[in-house]
Symmetry: C2
Subunit: 201 residues, 2 copies
Amino acid sequence: MIRILLADDEHLIRGAMAALLSLEDDLEVVAQAATGAEAIATARVVRPDVAVIDLQMPDLDGVAVAQSLAVELPTCSTMIVTSHGRPGHLKRALAAGVRGFLPKTVSSDVLATVVRTVHTGGRYVDPALAAEAISAGDSPLTPREADVLELALEGAPIEEIARRASLSPGTVRNYLSSAVGKTGASNRHEAARFARAKGWI
Amino acid sequence: MIRILLADDEHLIRGAMAALLSLEDDLEVVAQAATGAEAIATARVVRPDVAVIDLQMPDLDGVAVAQSLAVELPTCSTMIVTSHGRPGHLKRALAAGVRGFLPKTVSSDVLATVVRTVHTGGRYVDPALAAEAISAGDSPLTPREADVLELALEGAPIEEIARRASLSPGTVRNYLSSAVGKTGASNRHEAARFARAKGWI
DNA sequence: AGTTCCCCATGACAGATGTCATGACTCTCG
DNA sequence: CGAGAGTCATGACATCTGTCATGGGGAACT
């Protein structure tokens, strides 16, 4: 019997997934959590075999949870399910030791299969997401450029970005200009959206 | 027995919700759809009592589906479930004749209860979303301002917005300036994000 | 030691953007 | 009808942004 921890902030989804996984004879949902912190705390106690974590949760990112679990419970395999699969997340997740990465568009059969796969030490990444990640390529942005571009995401004026990044406005403009060039965008806002879509920030 | 049509592009969620609803004795999921168009086509054939529609789907918006169903199948009550509850959607949904509006954070009990409520002609809107919608207030933007601001959302330069809206660049700048003033933002990008958050565009 | 890349900054310039004044046309409402 | 509001446009002005040249300092690699 594979003991599963399920974490998703959407109560409905979580309950439904639990119901669905429980239909399988060899799977058992032994704990549920609605936040990242809760997931970690619960995992410490119940020590599940597999943790199925939603990528987007109010507090801790699914990847952050996976990172903690990898350290604290090396015997527990972590897999992530997500609604919006951006390439960057996949890379970060794999780097954090996640063994399975699925969009929520897969069928329940696949989910159950992947739970078994990761439990036996295998890995599984959704082919479509993998292809997207490969096509997105590596980020051409330097760390600083990425920082600044991320602050630009909310549409703040350069003055504010400079303050928040503790840089001179001129430097911010240089970084942004460079980022705009690298992304092929026509202004920083477009560049920021593009980089976000690629998972670079 | 209440006959239900379930539409959600996320296969996993849809299957899970179906499993969950089927646990109830008086509910029966008679059809499922992965897109808006599919939902409408299927509904025409199976004529369900209640349609449970996800707000965000690849093709047609959940609200658009609700609108079609209200016309074609007046006997079918429509309710919408969503992950990201923005106030504007709620208003649009109610205007489209939707009888129930829920975030996916609710428990399955609530879902089942609301299905029964809307089936008997009642209405149900999640209290938290309702409060948010009220606090967001009505949009101060004129229709044209909203149009233009929406085009600005992607970060396009004014030149392109003007082309896409078939307006002169000067006019676009006037609308945007007005919108920026009304939202209290410091530039159009911030204004666009703000308006989006409020559900105005 | 030299090269290369990143970080940070400044200054200058052109073009994009935000703001304001102004005006014509249309529609609605009292 | 007149008032008010929305739509569309133009012109002028100040400011913001994007781009480019330039330079010092540090880290990494050859």
